[in-house]
């Protein structure tokens, strides 16, 4: 056991007469996180995403709801969209002409139609400033910019993930800690309540809530938040309760109690910091989970409604035409995957950094 003394200047001194700065949990964690390359990479990615999501309204993006049917399904390109559209229309004309020269005379009306479309497009390009826009990630089936749709979709997806995680963690910690620390009847009551909530079919609750609280003319996203919050805290409450029970009879709790610390202080100052590792791993893993369940609900028509989008709806729209217009699927899918990866690396790194048990491992 190293003996510690306090010198004349009031600084902490170790046995080799070196001054020791007190290191807080967070400073210590940050020091160790910085050494973890993957976690740092994850942190950067998450930071960039968060910046884009917050700053989206002031960034020079095209309106994510503005449609232009002349520019539907354009491939990613750095050229002005008018040129891309013309190239596409020309390719269509040559394709039909080639088929006709192979003897498919029945396609003649189709060729006429394509020619009319081509002329209309040319006339529109001459007058419409929309065709000067550059879509670096292409456009969707109504000619909307994929870049701004993916960024605005990310806002909603990340918001859903964040709201779900925060409510889950707050509710879960409070209920789990109280239940575990108090024990006895209260514990029994709370845990049986959790059991009942577990027993209810999640999707059914959400569907019932959506139809009961369906209001004319408003988006359903807030009901979605409530629905997610309602059931998301169950698992974490149980995990925290287990941790608290295993810790509540340790010496340091005994010590705190003998010094007259209140139950609240013991729980929040002494017990919870020791369960942080579990909570952080759980939150970093559940955030992608919430994003996934939102996309599933959106597919059922219970999530975000058009023209708003989330990564989930963008992917499910993209799947419809993936053979002909792969960018409509690949762009949101790649961006979503990168975020989920980054979240997982960051969560893993945070767990290592914050775990009090691994404190002396460096």
């Amino acid at each position: 056991m190293a003996s510690k003394t306090i010198d004349t200047r009031g600084e902490l001194i170790n046995e080799f007469n070196q001054s020791m700065k007190p290191v807080s949990l967070w400073a210590d964690a940050w020091k160790r996180l910085r050494k973890n390359r993957m976690a740092l990479f994850g942190l950067w990615i998450v930071a960039i995403y968060a910046f884009l999501a917050i700053a989206a309204p002031v960034l020079p993006l095209y309106d994510y709801t503005s449609q232009d049917l002349f520019q539907a399904n354009l491939a990613p390109s750095f050229r002005p969209s008018g040129e891309v559209a013309i190239t596409k229309a020309e390719a269509r004309l040559t394709e039909i002409q080639a088929l006709i020269s192979e003897g498919r005379d029945d396609l003649a009306p189709e060729l006429d139609k394509a020619k009319v479309e081509y002329d209309l497009l040319k006339a529109d390009i001459a007058t419409n400033p929309n065709h000067k826009k550059v879509y670096i990630l292409g456009t969707d089936y109504l000619g909307r910019d994929m870049l701004s749709r993916t960024i605005y979709g990310g806002r909603i997806s990340m918001l859903v993930g964040l709201v779900g995680t925060i409510t889950a963690v707050l509710l879960g910690i409070i209920i789990g800690a109280i239940s575990g620390y108090a024990g006895g009847r209260l514990d029994n009551f709370l845990m049986r309540f959790v059991d009942i909530m577990y027993g209810l079919p999640y999707m059914l609750i959400v569907i019932i809530m959506m139809s009961v609280f369906r209001t004319e003319g408003s988006s359903s996203i807030f009901i979605l938040f409530i629905a997610i919050a309602l059931v998301s805290w169950l698992t974490i409450a149980r995990v925290v309760r287990g941790q608290i029970i295993s810790l509540k009879n340790s010496e340091f709790v005994e010590a705190a109690r003998s010094m007259g610390a209140s139950s609240g202080r013991i729980i929040f100052r002494h017990l919870l910091p020791n369960t942080l590792g579990v909570i952080i791993v759980f939150s970093s893993l559940s955030l992608p989970g919430f994003i996934m369940s939102e996309s599933f609900l959106s597919f059922l028509g219970l999530g975000v409604s058009a023209p708003d989008a989330s990564w989930g709806t963008l992917v499910s729209e993209g799947v419809q035409g993936m053979e002909l217009f792969p960018w409509r699927l690949l762009v949101p899918a790649a961006i979503m995957t990168l975020f989920l990866f980054a979240m997982n690396f960051l969560g893993d790194g945070l767990r290592d950094a914050l775990d009090p048990q691994s404190k002396n491992r460096t």
Binding site: D106, G217, Q320
Partner: protein, 514 residues
Amino acid sequence: MKRILAVLFVLVAVTGMFAQDFVFSNASEPTLDPSLQTDTASTNVYLGLFEGLVQYDPKTSRAIPAVAESWTISKDGTVITFKLRKNATWSDGHPVTAQDFVYAMRRILDPKTGAEYAYFPAMVIKGADAFNSGKGKAEDVGYKAIDANTLEVSLTGPAPYAVDMMAHSSFGPVPQWAVEKFGNDWTKPSNIVTNGPYLLKDWKVQEYLLMEKNPKYWDAKNVKIKSIKVLPGDNDTTNYNMFKNGEVDWTHGIAVSKIDEIKLRKDFQASPQVATYYISLNIAKKPFDDVRVRKALAMAIDKKAIVDKITKAGQIPTDAMVPPLAGYTPQKGAGFNPEQAKKLLAEAGFPGGKGFPAFTYIYNTNEGHKAIGEFIQQSWKNVLGIDCTLQNMEFKTLLDLRDKQRDFTVSRNGWVGDYIDPNTMLELFISDSGNNAGNYKNADFDKLIEKARTAKVSDRYKIFQQAETMLLTRDQALIPIYHYVNLDMIDASKWGGWYPNPIGFHPWKFMYKK
């Protein structure tokens, strides 16, 4: 290992030899009981298993002889006498008699059966509506078996389309003895008794339904395809890929997102259909009770753009409910006119969309409906400054909300005509129609439709035109978007007897391999 492979190879070869002649991808699982059918997927199977008095002509969709070998219509056009052929039999050997048709008609009309399509025969058969609504007696229904092979049908008026209607499954025969013996289970493969060109061989729900040629069928020598496998494929992309791979011979589910590619294929068939895609506005709700609002909403939508750039399969943009028919000129509602739309909305008290209540546009989950919904949402916002929310839901939920509870404001809607006549499109909007989702209530309109039922053939179209003028030109009770086209994928160089037709039903007995 080699031996196992060889055995496998032989097995595959042998099963390949007994493979079905024809594979059809139906849109969903069918209902087999003719009285309870409501959708085209069921009718497609009905056309194989059962045979009514008359049959759809594969080219024109008009009635041609089936169980009835001939019929005569009385001078005033209200009584049809069918002469049934003597050699028509049920699969269990019973002869098909006039009594079977009388029984089936009374059964579908009986309020206890709860058949949704009972309204269909009830429109034309005398006494049927009264019996169906619980006011009349079964004996008063205008279906009389004079003898085993003569059936006398009395109509509510000289409806010239009545015989064409009778090809529909709701007029189909039902074997009384089988229904009485097995109750609701009579349509199970082991119990079912049928009279059509095909027999139900096997049915594995969500896998396939197998039909095999009926050797006892009166016209069996002209039935060419030996067996038909019907798949319940409801995913259009899967259907298309299976068709491309040759696993399916005919499919009518066309993936909208691949239409550019599909349109250039030789085996793609598009033909005009008696059907309309439209938007229902709930007239019982404010401010949609104001005709100026409805007209403004209609004028803000560029229907040609929807057809040319979103659906892209040759649909016909329209301002009318009834598609152009020989001798019938559709009467139009408001067309695309953004300036006029703004003016009308301002007159109605919402200049620039200010103060217009928020509302929801509902549609059933489908990529095509979604794209159209988003386009209309954006058009209303850009032209009129009106905000609306889109909400998708499962089809059955939509039907319940829209048609039964009428608890909606604006909804996507569509109607496929059951026969070639303006009546099939217009009678939806009579006050007490179960399909009048928008709650359009107009006694004059009801009277016109009623009048057309009993009017002389030469006057009917004029009366329908008056009714459509009232419905759309004057009241704009709904917003028509386009007339559907039948979209099918079938290789016409391989299969004969299949023709594009206006109703979209293709009787199996005429089809053959070239």
